[in-house]
Assembly symmetry: C2
Homo-oligomer: 352 residues x 2
């Protein structure tokens, strides 16, 4: 599998066709699993990792459901390649920084992937467009089932599944939704919501996951607790809170439209104008404009602008993606130039 094959790929979640995708960009499930057959990754030596990879490759080739998955050995990848995968939310930031003998199994449509020898032996992940945590869970569960039949998972009846980090012990499950909340930001209600989320033992993160800031009005909300509740309980709890946030966001948008329509339109059209005109633009600025364009499309203020294009641009304007598209290393400043060029090109037919 070639990483370059994915450059023009529109991941399933970027199509924005899932339920409530105007607010809930993605539903994402990640399951941590380890096998008793090997030390945990932290303690594995090179030879063990080789053996583990061989084992996984065999499963990959011999299992119907996994045959179509491509195998990427991170050892041979450049930083830009890994950054590219990270920008697509396919590998973690840890894996971006430490590529020493870990790998990725990846389904063509990017809905499902398995990180190998990251913190745990296996990190099975699925991501789908919109508000569909349970459906996404089913995808992960199916893969987990298949792998459980071939690998002896580390498990104790008292603790459940064992993981490298104690915060994942139990179900090994992390479920999250990426939310687009411009309404709550504009009405300054976001902090109250985030406090509530924290009180209920859920965590909020930025666009690029753990340790990243909220940019472009995007927030990831995920479960904190993996122990003492079943997978379905965790999903139900998260779904409940997401539903509440969705309602509040819709109310906030309605309020903005009814009370501040003109100033909202002003913000949205200016965002489009900036993107159509800039000669130099950072990714942070771009994300905040794209966020407003999304909102503009959702509210029917901007017409004739394809939301898939906007979704795609969220990823395309990231540093590694730009470098892949232009097929060369670009220093920071040059990227801001190339990003602006790409945006002008992509939006040239959209009139102000």
């Amino acid at each position: 599998m070639e990483i370059n094959d994915f450059i023009d790929n529109l991941s399933e979640w970027l199509k924005g066709t899932g339920p409530d995708a105007n607010i809930i960009i993605t539903s994402r499930i990640r399951l941590a699993r380890n096998t008793r057959e090997f030390f945990f990754p932290e303690r594995m030596d090179s030879a063990q990792k080789d053996r583990f990879f061989e084992r996984i490759k065999k499963i990959n080739e011999s299992t119907n459901e996994l045959k179509s998955y491509g195998f990427i050995d991170m050892e041979g990848t450049s930083y830009t390649d890994r950054q590219f995968l990270c920008e697509r939310h396919l590998i973690s930031r840890d894996m971006l920084d430490f590529s020493h003998q870990n790998g990725l199994l990846l389904r063509r449509d990017e809905v499902c992937s398995i990180m190998l020898c990251e913190e745990d032996h296996l990190r099975i992940q699925a991501v789908k467009s919109g508000f569909c945590l349970h459906k996404t869970w089913e995808i992960v569960e199916k893969i987990e089932d298949i792998l459980a039949g071939q690998l002896d998972f580390a498990f104790t009846p008292e603790l459940g599944y064992l993981t490298s980090c104690p915060t994942n012990v139990g179900t090994g499950l992390r479920a999250s939704c990426m939310l687009h909340l411009p309404g709550l930001i504009m009405t300054k209600k976001i902090n109250k919501i985030l406090e509530l989320v924290a009180k209920l033992s859920f965590t909020t993160r930025g666009f690029f996951g753990e340790g990243t800031q909220a940019i472009g009005n995007f927030f990831q909300v995920s479960n904190q607790v993996t122990l003492g509740a079943s997978e379905i309980e965790i999903l139900n709890n998260l779904s409940g809170i997401i539903k509440q946030i969705k309602t509040r966001e819709l109310e906030a948008r309605e309020y903005m439209v009814s009370k501040y329509r003109v100033s909202l339109e002003d913000k949205i059209w200016r965002a489009l104008a900036s993107i159509k005109s800039a000669r130099i633009i950072s990714s942070e600025e771009t994300l905040s404009h794209l966020s407003l364009l999304r909102l503009g499309i959702d509210l029917g203020i901007i017409r004739n602008l394809d939301k898939q294009l906007i979704n795609h641009l969220f990823i395309m304007i990231q540093p590694a993606h730009l470098q892949k598209v232009y097929n060369k290393e670009l220093p920071h400043k040059k990227r801001d130039f190339v990003r602006a060029k790409l945006l002008r090109e992509k939006l040239k037919n959209i009139s102000l």
Copy 2:
């Protein structure tokens, strides 16, 4: 003469056809004169002012060179009307605020006008596009000559012409140039220039004259001293300093283009985009964008955009002009909305 006749008028100076008009927007001369036949305006009572106005009206009607001038009695004007004249630089801010029995004689093309009973009996003014102080002086001098033949000007051999404020005594002359200096602002050299100007006893003011701030990169430089030098000496001195500033501004622009072309283009195109897209826009913001558009045209970065249109917009987007165009009182917020609408309309055919 109806004030409304001027709404669509493009004052001569807005045509931008004068020498060096890319940097020196206007050359302006103002001459203060008083007649011995009346008390100075501060001490005139209503009956005296009536008599003075009658006297001026007669001169207006009977003198060939002044026949085409319209007479506007400020007493009957609304604040919006006076603000309209002030925005066109035809009356002073004092006359805007205190309209009690003063007036204006105005030439159709707005090159020449005479304020009546402002601080002095007569304030003869001429303004022309570009760097042409001496030519502008000739216009004022001619009118002064004509009036001197009919009114007995207050004059003493020791002091020269007497004026209400001692700062105008002597020649009664104020000469000024309005400069567009985006290059010196961007290269942060403007403060040094302004210090030099002050050291040489010249004064700097904003776009709307005395007591106003520099906005949109516009500066008015004028003589401070009116006593102890002849009119021509004053003009020569001012011309000398303007020439120097012009050279420095050209150097600054050249430097910006050679060193920071892309970021300059970025600023200029974004300015156009903001103006083409905004739904709410203040006059301050508009002026700073228009300033960049002027620069963009001067540098050949923006083509197909008529500089006269930009010049005209500098005036059209002012509060009173907007209210005249839309023929109603507009509160502050509504003006920002209407201004944005006007700008979008006027620039709709200019592509990014």
